[in-house]
Amino acid sequence: MASKNQYANSNNSWRHYTVMALGLMLFAILLVRLTQLQVLQTDFLQGEGERRSVRDHKLQAFRGMVVDRNGEPLAVSTPVKSVWLNPKQIIQDKIDIRPLAQYLNINVKQLLTKLKKNQNKEFIYLQRHMNPLMAKKIQDLKLPGVGLQQEFKRFYPAAEVASHVVGFTNIDEQGLEGVELAYDDWLQGTPGKGRMIKDRLGRLVKDLGVINPAQSGKELMLSIDLRLQYQAYRELKASVAQHGAKAGSLIMVDVSSGEILAMVNQPSYNPNNRAALNVAAVRNRSVTDIIEPGSTVKPFTVVAALMAGQVTDKSIINTHPGTLRLGNKTIRDHRNYGALNIEDILIKSSNVGVSKLAINLGGENLWESYQTLGLGKPVGIGLPGEHGGKVAVLTNRWSQLQSATLAYGYGLAVTPLQLAQAYQVLANGGLKQPLSIIYKDPEVGEQVIPKDIADKVLAMLQGVVSAKGTARRAKVDGYKVAGKTGTAHKVGQNGYEDEHYSALFAGIAPANDPKIVTIVVVDDPSGREYYGGEVAAPIFSRVTQASLRLLKVPPTEIESNSVAGAHL
């Protein structure tokens, strides 16, 4: 009290003012600093603050399903959990990971070495794609430094039946093969972004909501019909095994729309279990591999000859004596067929006959008509690895031999897919519909062969399947079918090999009102049978029989009972 009185009483003003001034100065400093922080640096500081607390997290997007034309699933994403570890935290905090190792059934020692190796990292995956039940158990352990992440795993219900078409993805759901790769952008979703406030230990404080919602991938509907695909797969597999063949392909196409209803290959693989994946089995042979089509292109030589107007369907070609010598090569028939009309040339598959047609026509014209049909040109179906095929280069001077070999299917190499395209044109009255693996509205086709010529050649091909033709075993009970066999020597290291063949059959059913075109290729059958008519034609017959029934095409070649409409 005394000292206070002393101050008040002593009117020593300079001390008073000094204290006042100092006080004001301190206040001013505070004010300046405050402005600095609150006004001038506010953005920076706020940003820094948020960097320490606000966390963005990825919102998972679903990958779209792949389904067949009836909506049956071919590829489905199902949610699974992946376990991750923070090795740095686990080592620093000496967390007991033994129960974790026990659940996951892994050696504790191994887990410890893994942690040691990654001790400077804050994130490693321990196990990916676990089933939800196991994940729940691990979550209930509530170990710090151990977390679960929501992921998706791709399942392929049709497994090896549709694997070449559908393909597969990697563990991060990026397409690697088939339509999974070709339509990756369409199927893939865009992950969204959510924002939340977390404390230093990563515990949730407040959810700030969603910044961008996740955009799920779109569904992809293929033109494949799983029922037909399955029939085709089963028959092809059985036959390839029966004939000891190296490989095989089968393509079935809807005639009026160009949609691919079935596409199977042997060998195949199971996309759900890729541990024992054989690289050669992954290839979609009907799209990526080229074959010499052999006699299966003969109908197109006839088409070209008819279109050029040099022959009519009534013309007679003399194939006597069953051989034709051109340069230093001799073209042979099985035997001397003598004089044949155009239909019989196809029925007997006479090499000499079509060679004579082609020589009259000139290689150039033949080359051009092959091109318009799509032989030796990529179909552009969009599946990865499609091969464009090879047709001899167009020159001005075609030798007779070159023209002739082109006519009976040597000197050009095509994919089974291209052959399917060419037969689609023939079966559809000359109207070309680009083949498609995607279910879509039909496009307006392109008339590449006059309708009357296409129909005439189609009628001739019915004879091939008759009792006097090369493809008796392609017969389908209850239906009229048409088709052409082919047997081609395979090309080896020393040119054409004598002992190795591809057996082919291209068929159209029903012949009176074509619905489906089927191409069968069996590569290198090792048994006693190797002709297209012996190996490939029976596959066609069985697959077509089942397919026509599934497609509800009424049989025409069966005794029919007429019933008055009024009674039904």
Partner: protein, 80 residues
């Protein structure tokens, strides 16, 4: 007075906002769960309805077989 009213309105709308956000989140969770279940059921369905399985069951348990030419009749409707 107007100021007071608008202040109260702000409080009210932010309350509604929070409520709706909460609801949205719950529905979002349900959506994910349902999608998970849908995927699982799809898988289950396609395993059970796989053509190979159906064929085997039809042949072995039900003694069914594909019809052949001899046991097929075509019935045509007479259109008059």
């Amino acid at each position: 007075m107007v100021l007071m009213l608008s202040a109260l309105a702000v409080i009210y709308t932010s309350f509604i906002n929070r409520q709706l956000a909460h609801e949205w989140q719950i529905l979002g969770n349900d959506h994910t769960l349902l999608q998970e279940e849908y995927g699982r059921l799809m898988l289950e369905y396609s395993t059970l309805a796989a053509p190979s399985r159906v064929e085997e069951l039809a042949r072995q348990r039900l003694n069914m077989s594909f019809p052949n030419k001899n046991n097929t009749r075509v019935i045509q409707l007479d259109r008059r």
